[in-house]
């Protein structure tokens, strides 16, 4: 169940009210006021982008790139068609925040995208939605229809010259499509295989046209920034880490769910909000930013705050804000085996180091788990990792290597114990 705490995306949403997602409820809680203000006051494109820069909003999909800067890259004067794309292809193990946004507050995303279209001079947008959440896709389609009927989407929005069309595109099961250029290929009706960068989507994106791609939560944060001002958003978080952020907590906590809290909140506080450790067990490890982020021991996490800079300093990354909590019963070899299988399964097969290397990583971790590990296997894992990282078109290769490196850095003893004694150091999963 979603557990909303305090933040800009879910502000005012009533999770117990089945109608809280619809346009009337959204307007009642201040929705579409930002768009109306822009049209009524004739706020300029430059002013909106400047406000975003002030807010220090950073990409909520995982990379944390400053949104205002990204929007300023769009060549607004380009004469041909330009596109705006939202990435709701949420498939990073541990992450389930964007699903809650399109189900519980889809109009915040729609309004954010309309504002994005206005600010960058774009007239057509697509929201690419993760395959496995078909019911959420249908909810989003219903919200789009509401917005069209209310005159917020379509031609001459609110009587102005501004036109913006927005459509939903449904994926059908491929983690790689969360990578922005794979997503564009998929939107074009092709296999989701990433493109070389450069050229970046801002110059060569969907159908070869200038394209801006942002994450769902990023767009959904925009109406608040326009309505309340970038400075106010910034002050909700901390310098260079503006605003509030959704954290998806899963694993061994009493209340898994989405928690929207200010960036810079101590992890210990977040754990307490999630009801603490399940069964009162001791915390062993946390993957703080989705399965691709290196694991950190529990004691390091207990002294860390939840923001881009602090998590990076602790040796991992905030990523999408997916926090996977593991207690003392977890065998880290088994945990890594599951993650390594995921990357092996989801590699798109385009680059040899990733296609072959993810298989090597999985098979070696698997044999260690099954008691067939060899003394040289840890060196082998490191060597395979070095031959993948930085040698592929997209970041999936690196994402497969980082969990392995994190595990070997902090829990090497467990892997050695498995190899030496052919069994787990700890009994549980």
């Amino acid at each position: 169940m979603t557990v909303y705490v305090k933040g800009v995306v879910f502000d005012g949403v009533d999770f117990d009210d089945p109608n809280s997602w619809n346009i009337d409820a959204y307007i009642q809680r201040g929705g579409y006021a930002a768009l109306k203000k822009i049209i009524a006051e004739g706020i300029t494109q430059d002013a909106i982008i400047a406000e975003l820069k002030t807010s220090s909003l950073r990409g909520r999909g995982g990379a944390g790139f400053p949104t205002g800067l990204k929007w300023s890259f769009m060549p607004r004067s380009f004469p041909g068609q330009k596109y705006l794309v939202c990435n709701t292809d949420e498939g990073e193990p541990g992450t389930f925040k964007d699903l809650d946004i399109i189900v519980n507050n889809p109009h915040a995303l729609i309004e954010g995208m309309i504002i994005g279209g206005y600010a960058m001079g774009i007239t057509v947008g697509y929201n690419y939605i993760h395959g496995e959440v078909f019911e959420a896709y249908e909810r989003f389609e219903a919200a789009l229809e509401e917005a069209r009927r209310a005159g917020f989407l379509g031609d001459n929005i609110l009587g102005s010259e501004f036109c913006f069309q927005l459509h939903a595109h449904h994926g059908y099961g491929a983690y790689i499509c969360g990578e922005e250029t794979a997503l564009l290929e998929s939107l074009e009706g092709k296999k989701g295989q990433p493109r070389f960068k450069p050229p970046f989507p801002a110059s060569y994106g969907l159908y070869g046209k200038p394209t801006t791609i942002n994450n769902t939560e990023t767009f959904a944060s925009v109406p608040y920034i326009v309505r309340e001002g970038g400075q106010k958003f910034l002050e909700l978080g901390k310098p260079n880490n503006g605003g509030t952020k959704l954290f998806s907590i899963s694993g061994h906590v009493n209340r898994p769910g989405n928690y929207e809290i200010p960036l810079g909140t101590p992890f210990a506080d977040l754990l307490e909000m999630a009801g603490g450790m399940r069964g009162g067990k001791k915390i062993k490890a946390v993957i703080p930013g989705g399965s691709s982020a290196p694991v950190l021991p529990g004691h390091i996490m207990m002294e860390t705050t939840m923001d881009y800079d602090a998590i990076a300093k602790a040796g991992s990354m905030l990523g999408s804000g997916a926090v996977i909590v593991m207690d003392e019963t977890v065998c880290m070899v088994k945990a890594l085996r599951r993650l390594s299988y995921f990357y092996y399964e989801e590699s798109c097969g385009q680059c040899t180091p990733c296609r072959e290397g993810t298989g090597w990583l999985y098979r070696v971790v698997d044999r260690i788990e099954r008691g067939l590990g060899r003394p040289e296997d840890l060196d082998l894992l490191e060597s395979v990792g070095k031959n993948i990282a930085g040698r592929t078109i997209c970041a999936l290769g690196d994402a497969a290597v980082m969990p392995v490196q994190g595990m070997l850095k902090h829990f090497r003893d467990e892997f050695l114990h498995h190899i030496e004694h052919k069994k787990c150091l700890v009994p549980g999963f």
């Binding site: 169940m1 541990g94 395959g131 496995e132 491929a174 983690y175 998806s248 899963s250």
Partner: protein
């Protein structure tokens, strides 16, 4: 391997989302719609979809084989996919998979003798906070699937 007028109307609505010269963009939805009608995607169905959209059969075939929710072989009336990835596994996802195998008397990637159920092991569905999670026929997500909840779901489907 013609599709029904209802399916074709749905495909037409998808085609309308994209620029007139980019009908290929609708191939993912068109294949999904065809699969819902036919139960799975035969080579003939894929070829029909390709021709309907005016794209090369291989272009549709590539998509049907790349994305893992398309079924390229017949499946049972109900395809149940269980997520066993790490976040789900920490909250009973593996147990749910084992319970279903025992209950249905089949392994992953098998179909019951009466053709009712196919069981699959899936990757992240983006719903880790609701673990254990099952997907029925690709489109219906079932949350918090403890053994009791699985029993109820199977009884309902039966």
């Amino acid at each position: 391997m013609m599709l029904t007028p209802e399916s074709l109307a749905q495909i037409d609505r998808e085609v309308a989302k994209y620029p007139a010269d980019q009908k290929r963009s609708a191939v993912m939805s068109a294949l999904r719609i065809a699969q819902v009608e036919k139960g799975w995607l035969s080579s003939d169905t894929i070829k029909f979809v390709a021709e309907y959209l005016g794209i090369a059969p291989m272009a549709a075939h590539e998509v049907a084989t790349f994305y893992n929710m398309y079924d390229r072989a017949p499946v049972g009336k109900y395809k149940i996919t269980v997520c066993t990835n790490l976040p789900c596994a920490l909250s009973g996802g593996v147990d749910a998979g084992e319970y279903l195998q025992k209950k249905l008397g089949i392994h992953f990637n098998e179909t019951t003798a009466d053709g009712k159920f196919t069981l699959k092991e899936g990757e992240c569905m983006g719903a880790c906070g609701y673990a254990p999670v099952l997907l029925v026929n690709n489109h219906t997500m079932c949350n918090h699937m403890t053994p009791d909840a699985i029993d109820r779901k199977l009884a309902e489907l039966n």
